[in-house]
Symmetry: C2
C-alpha cells in the first residue's frame, strides 16, 4: 500500500482545517498567543509581512491624496455615546480604563486607584474621537475635503479569538474623510474600496468580490458599508476590508458643520475605511498548503534564501563566499519597486532541517548551493509554489538576471490558482433544497467542508436573510454593484421577485 | 525710534519662551491638544516628520542587526509587580483597564461592566510583557542574542503635560534585547546610544552629550541608564533618548533562563532603549525661531515649496505650468537617500499669506515664481535658515542641479549653529557661589533664562546631588564616559575629592 505523502504541517487541511491554520501560523513563526487574553505577539517574520502590507497600502493612500495623522488611543465614554447605533454596536466589546494609578492594597499587592471622573474606552475604532477634532478644523467648504488616514492599534474585547482573524488587540489603518457633498463622499467610499481590491489582488494575490453589505451586516452608524470578500481554502468567506459611507450621521453626532458655498451652515458628509492584520490570516488561508506558509513575492519579507550545503568544514569558506557573491548580485535586482531581499542562511544546522524551516515560512525561492554547483557556476532552485522536492539546476547568472521574472511568475500563478479555486467553488443556485444541500457538510466529522459561494436570488427581505442564517449559519456576504445586470429572478428562500443575485456563504 | 522687527510668532522666545513653544507647535500645524486629558492629536505635518524620524532610525536599527515585532498593549498587573523597583517607578502613572464592556446604568447612560479578574495596565513601557515571551523563546545560548525593536504607543499618566515633551500617550520605539553575557549586553547598550547620538546629530542637526545617569536618575529596574542630552534654546537640557543596561534584573523577574555553553542554567542579560515623539519637541527647541518651525532638511516632510505669484488670472495657467515643470525636475533629484519632496502651492490665497504659512511650517526652501522669473528662466529663492525677507534670484536649472548641495548646506549650518549655541552656554564652574549665580535667573520675570550647562566636579555623593536639586532645581544630566580624562578636582558643592567633571543643568 502506498504511504500517504509526509507533510511539514500536521494535521493537513483535509484532516483538521482549524488546527492546520494554527499550526501554519506557528511553524511559519508569524505570531503566537501572549499571556494577555486574546492579544497576540506578532513575531518578526509576521511583522515584516505587516510592514510590507503597510508600506504597499500607504503608497496607494498617498497616491490618492491622503495624508497620515495620529489621534488619541482613548475615547471619553460620552463621545462614544453620541452616536446611538455606533455605541450599541461596540458596547459589548469595550476595554474600559477607570483608574490612573496603582497603590498598595489591603492584602499587600497593588490595586487600581485614582478613579477617573469619566471612564475612557480604548478605541475600538475612531470615528467619534476623530470627529471631535474635525469639528474644530472644519469651518467652511474651503476646509474640505479632509483626507486623513491613521495607522494604529485598536481593541475589541472578543470572547473567542484566533490569531490574526479575531484578536482583542489588532493593528490596522483607518481612513477618516470629510466632504462637502454626498456625491463626493460616495466617490471616496467607492474609490477606497477599489484601492483595497487592487491591493488584495495585485499584492496579496487574493481575489476578492466587491459589493455592498445588507442592512443587518452594516458598520454600526453607517448609511452603507461596502466590502471586499475573499474565499478561503475551506470555502468560507473572509471579510477582508470595508469602506463605509457614513452620510451625515457622524457629522451630526460630532457637530461637523461647515459654511456652504451658498453661505448656509450644513452638516458635512463623512466616510471611513479600514483593513487590519486580519489580512495576514486571509493571505495564509488563500495560499498556504500542507507544508506551511506560501508568501506572495510582492509582500514576502524575503524573496530568496541561499542554503550552503557543506559536507566538510574545509568547504565552508569557499561555498559561503560563493553564496554571498550571488546574494550581493541578487540584491542589486529590483522586483516590483523594491530591491530583491536575500537571506544567506549560514546557521550551523543540517541542510534538510534548514530547508524545511524556510518551506514552512513560505519564502518564494530557495537556492541550494553545494561544492558541485560552485564548480559548475550553478545553483539548485526550489520554488515554494511547486512541490517541496521539485528542484532544478540553473546557471547562476541566468538565475540572477531572471529573478524578477521568476518572482512575477510565482506571484501571478498564486492569483491564478486562487481565482480558479473560487470559480470551482461558486455556484448559481436557484432552489432552496439545492441551496441547503450545498451548505450542508457531507461529512459530519468535518463541518467546515461544504459548498462555497452560492450566487442566488434574494427578495431583499430581512426574514429570508435571517432564515438562512438560522438554518445554515449562512449570510449574505455582499450585494454585487452590478447585481441588476444579471437579470431578475425569484428569491431562493421564499420565491418572491428578486432584482438580481447576491453572494451567500458561511464566513469567519 | 526704530520699531521692533515684526515676527510671525507672538510672543517671541525672549518675551515668553514657554508660550512661544506652544505657538510654534500650533502655527506649524504639528500637533494640538485633544479632548482627552494629556493626549495629543499629531497633525499631518507633524506626523510626516515622525514618519521620517521612524524611517531614519528604523534603517539604522536594521543595519545593526535588529528586527521589528509587536507585543500586547496591555500588561497584567501581576507582571508589572514582578520587578519591585520597576513597578514602584511606574505605579503613579498607570492607566488601568478594569472592565471589558459597557452596559446601561441606573441613570440611563452607559457604565463599565464585566469586571476583569485581574486589572490590565496600559503599557508605560514593555520590559515585563516582552520578558514573559522571551522566557518562552530562550532555552539555550543558541537562541541568543535576541535583537528586537517595537514601534508602539505607550501611556504614562502625567499631571502636567506639554505637546510632544510630556504627554499621557506618546509614540515611541523600544528595543528589547537578550544576551549571553554581561559584556555583550553592555556592548549593545553602548552601541544603541551611539545610534541615537548619530541620528540626533546627522538627521536632527541636534548636538547631544552622551554619558551615564546617576543612580537617582536611572530607569526603574535598570543597573545603568545611558542617555543623550541636548541643550534647548532656553539653555535647559532635554533628555532625548536612553539606553538601559538591565543586568539580570528583568531576566530574573521574567525568568529568562538559558542553558550556557557549559551546560548550566543561567539568567540572561538584557537591555532596553527608546526614543519617542519627544524628539520633535527637542528638534523644535533646537532650531525654531521667532518666525516658527525650522525643519532640518534630512527630516523635513517636504524640502521645497513653489509659490506661483499670480497678479492676473490670464497668467495663472502658464505660471503654474512653469512651476510644475520645475517641481517635476526637482523630484528627480535625490537628497540624502530620498527623492527631493516638492509642494506646488496653488491655493487661492494671497502670496504673502501663503509664504508666511510655509515659513511657520519650517520648510527649508521657498521658491517664488512670477511672470518676470518665468520670462528670464529664473526663480526667486528664500532659505528658511536665513531671515524671512532675504531672497535671491537664480537661474532655474542652476537651482535644480544645486538643490542637494543647498539642502546639505542648510543641514550642516543648523548643526553648526546649535553646536555654537551649546558651546557659548556651557561653563566650567569650580565654586558653589558662581554655580548658584550661573543657575539663578537675572530677571525674576523670566525664570527660564539662566546660564546653561555647568561642567563641574562632583564627589559622587547623593547628598550633594540632592542639594543642588533643592536649592536650584538643577540635576546632573550625565556623567561623561571620559569623565576621568579631564582630571580630578573638588566637588563644586562640598569640596570633597572628585574623579572628574559631570554636567549639571536645569531640565525638561
Amino acid at each position: 500500500m502506498a504511504k500517504a505523502p509526509k507533510t511539514a504541517i500536521t494535521p493537513t487541511r483535509e484532516e483538521d482545517y482549524a488546527e492546520w491554520y494554527q499550526q501554519v501560523v506557528k511553524a511559519a513563526e508569524l505570531a503566537e498567543n501572549s499571556a494577555v487574553r486574546g492579544c497576540m505577539v506578532i513575531r518578526p517574520w509576521g511583522y515584516a509581512l505587516w510592514e510590507n502590507i503597510r508600506d504597499g497600502l500607504d503608497k496607494m493612500f498617498k497616491a490618492t491624496g491622503h495624508v497620515n495623522a495620529y489621534f488619541p488611543l482613548f475615547i471619553p465614554l460620552s463621545f462614544l455615546e453620541k452616536e446611538a447605533e455606533h455605541v450599541e454596536g461596540f458596547a459589548k466589546e469595550c476595554a474600559v480604563v477607570t483608574h490612573h494609578r496603582l497603590e498598595a492594597g489591603p492584602n499587600g499587592g497593588l490595586v487600581p486607584a485614582g478613579e477617573l471622573e469619566e471612564p475612557l474606552v480604548v478605541r475600538p475604532t475612531s470615528e467619534t474621537i476623530i470627529g471631535a477634532t474635525y469639528a474644530k478644523w472644519v469651518q467652511s467648504y474651503r476646509d474640505l475635503p479632509i483626507l486623513i488616514n491613521q495607522w494604529a492599534n485598536v481593541v475589541r474585547w472578543e470572547m473567542r479569538t484566533r490569531l490574526f482573524l479575531r484578536t482583542t488587540e489588532f493593528l490596522w489603518q483607518e481612513g477618516h474623510t470629510v466632504h462637502e457633498t454626498s456625491a463626493e463622499a460616495w466617490e471616496e467610499t467607492r474609490k477606497m474600496l477599489e484601492v483595497y481590491k487592487t491591493f488584495a489582488e495585485e499584492y496579496m494575490a487574493m481575489p476578492v468580490l466587491t459589493g455592498e453589505k445588507t442592512a443587518g451586516e452594516r458598520f454600526p452608524g453607517a448609511v452603507s458599508t461596502l466590502c471586499i470578500e475573499a474565499m478561503m481554502q475551506d470555502r468560507k468567506a473572509l471579510q477582508a476590508g470595508t469602506s463605509h459611507f457614513l452620510g451625515q450621521n457622524f457629522a451630526r453626532s460630532s457637530n461637523i458643520l461647515y459654511q456652504s458655498r451658498e453661505g448656509k451652515e450644513e452638516y458635512a458628509w463623512t466616510t471611513s475605511w479600514g483593513v487590519s492584520t486580519r489580512l495576514i490570516g486571509g493571505m495564509l488561508m488563500t495560499h498556504a498548503d500542507d507544508d506551511g506558509m506560501v508568501m506572495p513575492p510582492r509582500l514576502a519579507p524575503s524573496h530568496v534564501v541561499l542554503l550552503p550545503i557543506i559536507r566538510q568544514d574545509s568547504e565552508r569558506e569557499s561555498i559561503e563566499k560563493y553564496c554571498n557573491e550571488i546574494a550581493d548580485k541578487l540584491r542589486q535586482q529590483v522586483y516590483h519597486g523594491r530591491p530583491v531581499e536575500v537571506v544567506v542562511d549560514t546557521r550551523d544546522l543540517n541542510a534538510g532541517e534548514k530547508g524545511w524551516q524556510w518551506v514552512k515560512k513560505g519564502i518564494p525561492v530557495r537556492l541550494e548551493v553545494g561544492p558541485r554547483d560552485m564548480e559548475s557556476g550553478g545553483v539548485f532552485v526550489a520554488r515554494r509554489d511547486r512541490g517541496a522536492k521539485e528542484k532544478y539546476g540553473q546557471n547562476k547568472d541566468e538565475f540572477i538576471s531572471g529573478i524578477a521574472a521568476l518572482l512575477d511568475e510565482i506571484q501571478h500563478g498564486l492569483l491564478e490558482k486562487a481565482l480558479n479555486f473560487r470559480k470551482e467553488n461558486t455556484r448559481e443556485i436557484n432552489d432552496y433544497e439545492k441551496f441547503q444541500k450545498f451548505f450542508t457538510p457531507k461529512d459530519k466529522e468535518k463541518p467546515e467542508i461544504h459548498g462555497g459561494f452560492a450566487s442566488s436570488h434574494w427578495c431583499d427581505g430581512a426574514a429570508c436573510e435571517e432564515k438562512v442564517k438560522n438554518d445554515l449559519t449562512v449570510t449574505i456576504r455582499c450585494v454585487p454593484f452590478d447585481r441588476e445586470a444579471g437579470g431578475v429572478g425569484r428569491c431562493v428562500v421564499c420565491g418572491q421577485p428578486s432584482k438580481g443575485r447576491v453572494t451567500f456563504a458561511k464566513s469567519y
